[in-house]
Symmetry: C2
Subunit: 369 residues, 2 copies
């Protein structure tokens, strides 16, 4: 495969870092070397990903001149393990192996592995550096870039965490060949999101190429991942700590988190919930007169063609939605804030929305169900 | 009491913050107001401090225009509760009360309360702001300034944590009137430390005023606290994340941590262990020919006059010291680094020390015991 390697840089001053994108990246030790050479390394992965890509990573690390053998930490697979208990298990392993402050963590896996491993890195000895090697489309276009790390609490998703930037992100697009189709669709939700919030041209490209993405066309995938990462990197560089425009990346997430929590974490994939959440945000935006009908229909059509549901599960009732949304972390000083659409490629964060439009949006699926 | 109020500023760009020092500060709502007005507030304190100073803080908060009643979280008192389990209890209380990202934590208590509450603030919803109201001398001159937060792990002290700067530090020197004498002595260890590592003039002042500090002379206390905070603030401003000179603040800490861990956390107070650790560092520095005899004797004499032990407990054997020091977080890439003295007011961080001098320093107390 001759698809060319793509490089991006997330510009954060002293904490800037590269994103390497392309096929075969896991087999190229020079991607990892600058981050790990001469260091002790712990690899955090899970029992699903390790058999698929663990050997490639081991071989690359062996060629990087790291100090000693890597400490290998395999977590059970699943969002239900994204807890403080899992983080504490990792911290104990690091201490038992006497990894010092100059050590590195390499996170090999999807968003859950990256969030957990990144948070462990953020709080081990008040912070050590880490490298993201995301192996799902969702993690490649979203969670591996931007420095958000953390775990869930029984009372809410991602309620415990830290901003901790990786030292490098290595995206091997070949890993998508072994990704379950359902997870590919979930990842497409976040890809579509970038088009909706800030890149109308990319949205149009997606309308033309969504079927090729679903059949894993390598060139289409590489383009979509690069464009998505570039969008995210620009937003993060402009607003690392989510004081302003970074919040726009949460389009569909307030509704989506309520779906995930309401169904029990792990029932709906994060991306699936975000896809449905974006459709709800589009419909609410139309009800408020902010989004025209044609744009709402284009948004819904693309979400549907990506294989994602337009309606939330009936089990999450409107009352349950309100309850779960109230605790969502985007509640600022007691007021619920939502990301809504004013057009394709134009999102706004607002706490001045029409309560009736929200009620109707929450109730319409109750009729559908 | 007419002792004047002192103000300092820790210069960290956008994260700069004021330190207010003086008698009666807890009764002056204007110190707290800029940090908490219009916000929801959680107070984290403990069962010893709350009966002494809780009412004063409550009254001040009531005059600050905060949103609703403060959420009151009282921890059991003691270093043994400085654990992730305690942090998780706090996070759960914050979530149950639905405190949002704009909320504030106020830490009222000693270093343990400040470290725990600060770390909870660092990881609640990826970080909320907090205010330090230290009520022990140790916390006032050391842990409340500089942004180090965290908890202990069974395998090591402060092994889990984050750098998270407070929004303000409010030091009411009247709180020292209710401080047990043993804790006052422990705090004096850190005061002496600033003289030893970077301020020979202050060290000489301490030699002249140590007895007045031990009898709580208000003017002497205010001067010593201000000078100590200024030292710490300068070092932190120059090196927030401990890449360089900040490490000098750890004079006596590598030996001290080993004493604390070796005896079981809580047996020796942190400051007591640091006092003894500084004496050990001074003796080792003399053995290496770095520190002259007179300076070593001055260091030991002042530590002793502060009511602190010059020798570590016999129960921590040389072998146990080495084991515990190996896991200390100041081990950089496998090499033990120590802060040693080249003179009064002149400390250096080094991994190039004489192993024999270390051995002798660890063994000499075995003879004494």
């Amino acid at each position: 495969m001759m698809a060319r390697m793509e490089n991006l840089n997330v510009e954060l001053g002293a904490r800037s870092y590269p994103i390497h994108i392309g096929p075969g990246q896991l087999n190229e030790p020079q991607r990892l070397r600058p981050a790990v050479e001469g260091r002790r390394v712990a690899v955090v992965t899970n029992t699903t990903v390790a058999p698929l890509h663990g050997d490639a990573l081991r071989r690359s690390l062996a060629d990087c001149g790291i100090s000693g053998e890597p400490l290998w930490i395999e977590l059970p697979d699943g969002e239900q393990y994204k807890t403080m208990a899992t983080v504490e298990t990792i911290l104990t392993r690091l201490l038992e192996a006497r990894l010092d402050r100059g050590s590195r963590i390499v996170a090999l896996g999807g968003g859950v592995v990256g969030d957990i491993a990144g948070f462990a890195a953020a709080i081990y000895q008040r912070g050590i550096d880490f490298v993201q090697v995301p192996t799902t489309l969702l993690a490649q276009v979203d969670s591996s870039v931007g420095g958000k790390t953390g775990v869930n609490h029984p009372l809410g998703k991602n309620m415990i965490g830290a901003f901790h930037q990786p030292r490098a992100v290595i995206i091997d697009t070949d890993t998508l060949k072994t990704l379950p189709e359902r997870e590919l669709r979930a990842g497409l939700a976040e890809v579509i999101k970038y088009g909706l919030i800030r890149d109308a041209e990319f949205f149009t490209w997606l309308e033309e190429h969504i079927d090729r993405l679903r059949t894993l066309d390598p060139e289409a995938l590489a383009f979509a991942i690069r464009r998505s990462c570039a969008c995210k990197a620009e937003v993060v560089a402009a607003d690392e700590r989510e004081g302003g425009i970074r919040a726009l990346l949460n389009l569909g997430h307030t509704f989506g988190h309520a779906i995930e929590a309401g169904m029990g974490y792990g029932e709906w994939l994060h991306g699936e919930a975000v896809g449905t959440g974006m459709a709800m945000a589009a419909r609410m935006s139309e009800r408020m007169g902010w989004l025209d009908r044609v744009s709402r229909e284009r948004a819904e059509a693309l979400i549907q063609r990506a294989g994602l549901a337009l309606e939330p599960p009936a089990a999450v009732t409107p009352d349950r939605f309100r309850e779960l949304m109230a605790i969502d972390k985007k509640v600022a000083s007691g007021r619920l804030r939502l990301v809504l659409l004013r057009g394709i490629g134009e999102a706004v964060l607002t706490d001045e929305f029409d309560q009736t439009a929200l009620d109707h949006t929450l109730h319409e699926h109750a009729r559908v169900a």
